[in-house]
């Protein structure tokens, strides 16, 4: 039986073009272009290269509003076999808890899965929490912050990049993997596949199909709320001016104020 891979992708505002409404302090979504979260393109590529090697089935899932359809088509055109957009007004405003819950419930409904792949984080919420949350809901192991993801005989091997080194791990499936941004080179969409993708289409699942009560998801299912937003204004410093003619005085001051020391301990 073919290995089943599920890839979780999110559509996000193009981070280079974020415009903030000065009054509401909210993201002005009408001004921003939406793109597929870049780390999720790396997640899909990791899945597709396993597919190249062993012939897996790759299903892409995304929870989001209807405009995420462009991301669905894009993933199919890159080589995914199936795409499911989980979309319902009840899912709106979710924090990481109900997002993980909704995606985990979707995956349970899909049924069989061996490997679930997500991005390390989304560029708009940048928590990195949704992947591990899904793994916990499904009670499966995980490999986070991975590069060089490989599959062999029922095991996933990945390299985890930590602050102080690289950990190489091997975990039996089922397992959830989150992959690093730029950890591979995502293949392009081909025109032929794009035409096929549009013809074939993707599925849209609503809340009944996912099988969760409305009060468990979206805003109502979210433990956290944003109370307020402030713009970050750093306090300004004195900015005492020196120039090439009086650097000696500056050096003296730095040493006398013990900003610099004769010997660093």
């Amino acid at each position: 039986m073919a290995v089943e891979i599920i890839v979780m992708v999110k559509q996000v505002p193009d981070s280079q073009e974020v415009v903030i409404d000065p009054v509401t302090m909210n993201l002005n979504r009408s001004m921003t272009r939406n793109v597929t979260n870049r780390a999720d393109e790396n997640a899909l590529e990791a899945a597709l290269s396993i597919k190249d090697k062993i012939g897996a089935n790759v299903t892409v899932i995304s929870m989001g509003p209807p405009q995420a359809e462009t991301t669905m088509i894009e993933c199919l055109a890159r080589g995914a076999d199936r795409a499911i957009l989980v979309s319902d007004r009840f899912f709106g405003g979710a924090d990481t808890y109900p997002t993980g819950l909704t995606l985990a419930a979707t995956i349970s409904k899909i049924g069989k899965y061996d490997i679930i792949i997500a991005g390390e984080e989304s560029s708009d919420s940048s928590t990195g929490h949704v992947g591990p949350g899904v793994a916990e809901f499904l009670d499966i192991d995980q490999i986070t912050y991975a590069s060089n993801v490989d599959y062999e005989d029922g095991y996933v091997i990945g390299e985890r990049e930590l602050e102080d080194g690289t950990e190489v791990v091997k975990v039996p499936t089922p397992v959830l993997v989150t992959v690093l941004l730029n950890s591979n080179d995502p293949r392009r969409q081909t025109l032929r596949r794009k035409i096929d993708a549009i013809r074939k289409g993707f599925e849209v699942w609503n809340i009944e199909k996912v099988g969760l009560p409305p009060e468990w998801v979206g805003v109502r299912g979210s433990p956290t709320i944003v109370r307020r937003m402030r713009s970050i204004k750093e306090k300004e410093r004195a900015g005492k001016k020196y120039d090439l003619t009086n650097l000696g005085e500056l050096v003296k001051e730095l040493y006398e104020k013990k900003v610099l020391k004769m010997e660093e301990e």
Binding site: M25, D95, T96, Y97, P98, A105, S126, T127, G128, H129, P132, G133, E136, F137, D141, Q142, T144, Y145, R160, E161, L162, E163, G165, T166, E167, V168, V169, V171, P213, W216, R220, G221, S222, P223, T224, I225, V226, R227, R228, M229, S231, I232, E234, E236, R237, A238, G239, K240, K241, L244, G248, L250, V251, L254, K257, V259, L260, M262, E264, E265
Partner: protein, 355 residues
């Protein structure tokens, strides 16, 4: 462990008290972010007259537990087993969740390191808690004991204050390098509870085949940082900064585009997507002062910047400013420093001998 569970049934906040922190370790040693957690955890606990509990997992906890107490931890909750020497998601999340479920903390803080984030989200799901990721400011409302978790958003331009009103514990991960390490106590007093545990085989399926340690530059521990930006104009600029940095016992820092250009390796990068630093002295050479860089170095005690544009943003965040070409200023500064040191080296030695 969780299964598909609902977050809505909420706990009675009155049953939850004290502040818990998770202490990250390597090879049975506390990491720097662990000490930062003790600092911020203790500050919050003190504000509401509660205790600070530290959770430590490992294969030999004695020294780490003593160290945690010496930094201000009131109660150490430890789980000890040879299988816990290295972080692994399944056994760690299982044990930490059980601590949380039995001890019922009001607040639980975890460092926003890679392993910290790997763990935090699983605990939050398992315990049906709310969690705020990557906080740079953490406070508590004293009357309600509600955690005020602040995290940067929209490319660090905004700070979002996030609350978790009905769920307990209130969890947050804290960005490394932001919160200061507390002073050691003169006469520390703390209770140490270490349990030897046996881990179920089913939780130990992840095999760690290898750990390739990298000799990373730890900018977070540096007292002096000499950082360069695109104003250097070429990779050789970092060599010039290296000479200055060597003279004053510093470490090299860099902006993201200089690392993108390959002028310097990524582990020197300071900022939102690099390291957060708080040295005693930060010298910024040819750096414009974009917010993503500022976020990583604004807590430096003293900042000196060199930029040939009198309008450069970085000047607003600087204690000392030199408006000129880096290639003129840096060699001249180095010369003045050498001169000063030569004139004063005798005095420094005398001072040390007499003290």
């Amino acid at each position: 462990m969780a299964g598909i569970i609902n977050a809505t049934p909420v706990a009675d906040p009155q049953q939850y008290k004290n502040v818990f922190v998770f202490l990250e370790t390597r090879e049975d040693k506390l990491l720097r972010p662990a000490l930062e957690m003790i600092g911020v955890g203790k500050t919050i606990a003190n504000k509401v007259n509660e205790k600070l509990y530290c959770i430590i997992l490992g294969s030999d906890l004695k020294d780490m537990a003593d160290e945690a107490v010496s930094y201000g931890c009131d109660v150490v909750l430890g789980a000890e087993s040879p299988d816990l020497k290295t972080f692994r998601t399944m056994p760690y999340s299982h044990i930490v969740s059980n601590f949380v479920k039995s001890e019922k903390p009001n607040i639980f803080l975890i460092p926003a390191t890679r392993n910290g984030r790997d763990l935090a989200s699983r605990i939050a799901v398992s315990c049906q808690a709310g969690v705020t990721a990557d906080c740079t400011e953490i406070d508590i409302e004293t009357d309600t004991r509600i955690l005020l978790a602040n995290r940067p958003t929209y490319g660090e331009s905004m700070l979002a204050e996030i609350l978790c009103k009905r769920h307990r514990p209130q969890m947050a991960t804290a960005r490394p390098g932001i919160f200061p390490i507390p002073e050691k106590l003169k006469s520390p007093k703390g209770e140490i509870r270490i349990n030897k545990v046996k881990i179920d085989k089913s939780l130990l399926k992840k095999e760690i085949l290898e750990f390739r340690k990298k000799e990373a530059i730890d900018l977070t521990a540096a007292k002096v940082i000499v950082a360069g930006g695109m104003g250097l104009g070429k990779p050789e600029g970092f060599k010039m900064l290296g000479d200055l940095s060597n003279e004053i016992g510093g470490v090299i820092g860099a902006t993201r585009p200089t690392a993108d250009m390959g002028w310097i390796t990524r582990d020197h990068q300071v900022g939102q997507t690099g390291q957060t630093v708080r040295p005693r002295f930060y010298l910024a050479a040819g750096i414009s002062g974009k917010i993503q860089h500022i976020m990583g170095m604004k807590n430096s005690e003293t900042i000196l910047s060199i930029n040939n544009d009198p309008q450069a943003e970085i000047f607003k965040y600087s204690d000392y400013v030199i408006v000129d070409d880096v290639y003129k200023v840096v060699p001249a500064l180095l010369e003045e420093i050498r001169k000063y040191k030569k004139e004063h080296v005798g005095i420094a030695v005398e001072n040390r001998e007499s003290s």
